[in-house]
Amino acid sequence: MSQINILAIANHPEILETIIRLINQNESWCGLPAGSLEEAEELLRLNSIDLVLLGVGVDEEAGERISSLCQSIDPRIVCLRHFGGGSGLLYSEIRHALVGG
């Protein structure tokens, strides 16, 4: 299975670090952290991203902006909101998105 690149956006540094650490515990997943929208947009343009997690601090308007950018770069990029900020929901959110749930 090819590697899944996951961009996680959150404005809470410790929570973002936790999410990336948890993502990278799965050998098939690679987490890229973005602490701001600008950083996220740059990473989206420079990398082949499969999945975007909209985390804490990303409001609805910013989420729509990121979703639109994903659509324009590659409509196959899945953009979803991450809730909980830790291990509880992260795996099932990602797995659910990867199977098209």
Binding site: A10, H12, E14, I15, T18, G55, V56, G57, D59, E60, F83, G84, G85, G86, S87, G88, L89, Y91, S92, R95, H96, V99, G101
Partner: protein
């Protein structure tokens, strides 16, 4: 989509970490079933037992309404908001994680296990200021009646959360029948049997079973033996 769900106790995910035994109604941590993601805004219903002196070390949460209801024993809570508290059977704890909060939850007792329900609801607002609260409720106020322990309204009975949800407890004598009046049109009801045997709208349920459905207005309950219930009314969307 509004779909009724029946979750027999034995069909839950079971995680045994030695110090923690967790029966999980919905997909959680490493457990995943696409048919077991949520019931409306209700996303997590974990039935956790933590060994004496053990607990959950410092970990973060955001954008989730997290409710804990001890069934046996005492939990010791500490969080990054500066709260240090004990929470016992007969109390409910709520944490609106919002923009981010760290916390620990440990069994206060060194010898006896603590058993509690850990419940997460999606919030109806993103990125709110984190908040912690707990309250004690009178045990006599749920004998053959519904006792409200949670609502969306800070001025109503129980703790409040950022969601159009209402939680009630009831302890029913054998043979007792009672109706639950829906608080908000369109909401769903998820019943979790803490103890005993009941019929809910004719659906038999045993201890630790869960049943989620979308009633018109009133829900009928019949207790087949002395029973203890948690009734969670939640919206479909959030």
């Amino acid at each position: 989509m509004k779909k009724n769900v029946l979750h027999p106790a034995a069909s839950r995910f079971f995680a045994d970490h030695g110090w923690l035994k967790s029966a999980q109604t919905f997909s959680f941590h490493g457990n995943y079933d696409p048919q077991r993601i949520q019931f409306g805004a209700l996303r997590v219903l974990n039935d956790d037992t933590v060994n004496g002196g053990k607990g959950f070390g410092r970990h973060p949460h955001d954008n989730m309404e997290i409710i804990s209801i001890p069934l046996e024993g005492t939990l010791e809570h500490q969080d990054s908001l500066g709260n240090v508290a004990l929470i016992r059977r007969g109390e409910i704890q709520v944490m609106s994680a919002g923009t981010g909060v760290y916390h620990t939850e440990f069994n206060k007792d060194q010898d006896e296990p603590v058993t509690f329900l850990q419940i997460w609801l999606y919030p109806n607002k993103l990125n709110v200021a984190p908040r912690y609260d707990q309250m004690e409720y009178a045990s006599g106020d749920r004998h053959n009646r519904f006792q409200q322990i949670l609502s969306p309204d800070p001025d109503d009975d129980g703790v409040w959360i950022n969601q159009d949800a209402w939680f009630h407890l009831a302890e029913l004598d054998k043979g007792f029948e009672i109706g639950y009046q829906l608080k908000k049109d369109g909401n769903g009801v998820y019943v979790f049997v803490v103890g005993g045997n009941v019929e809910v709208e004719g659906q038999p349920l045993s201890v630790r079973d869960g049943y989620g459905f979308w009633p018109e207005s009133v829900v009928s309950f019949k207790s087949l033996e002395k029973s203890s219930l948690l009734v969670m009314e939640v919206p479909e969307k959030w």
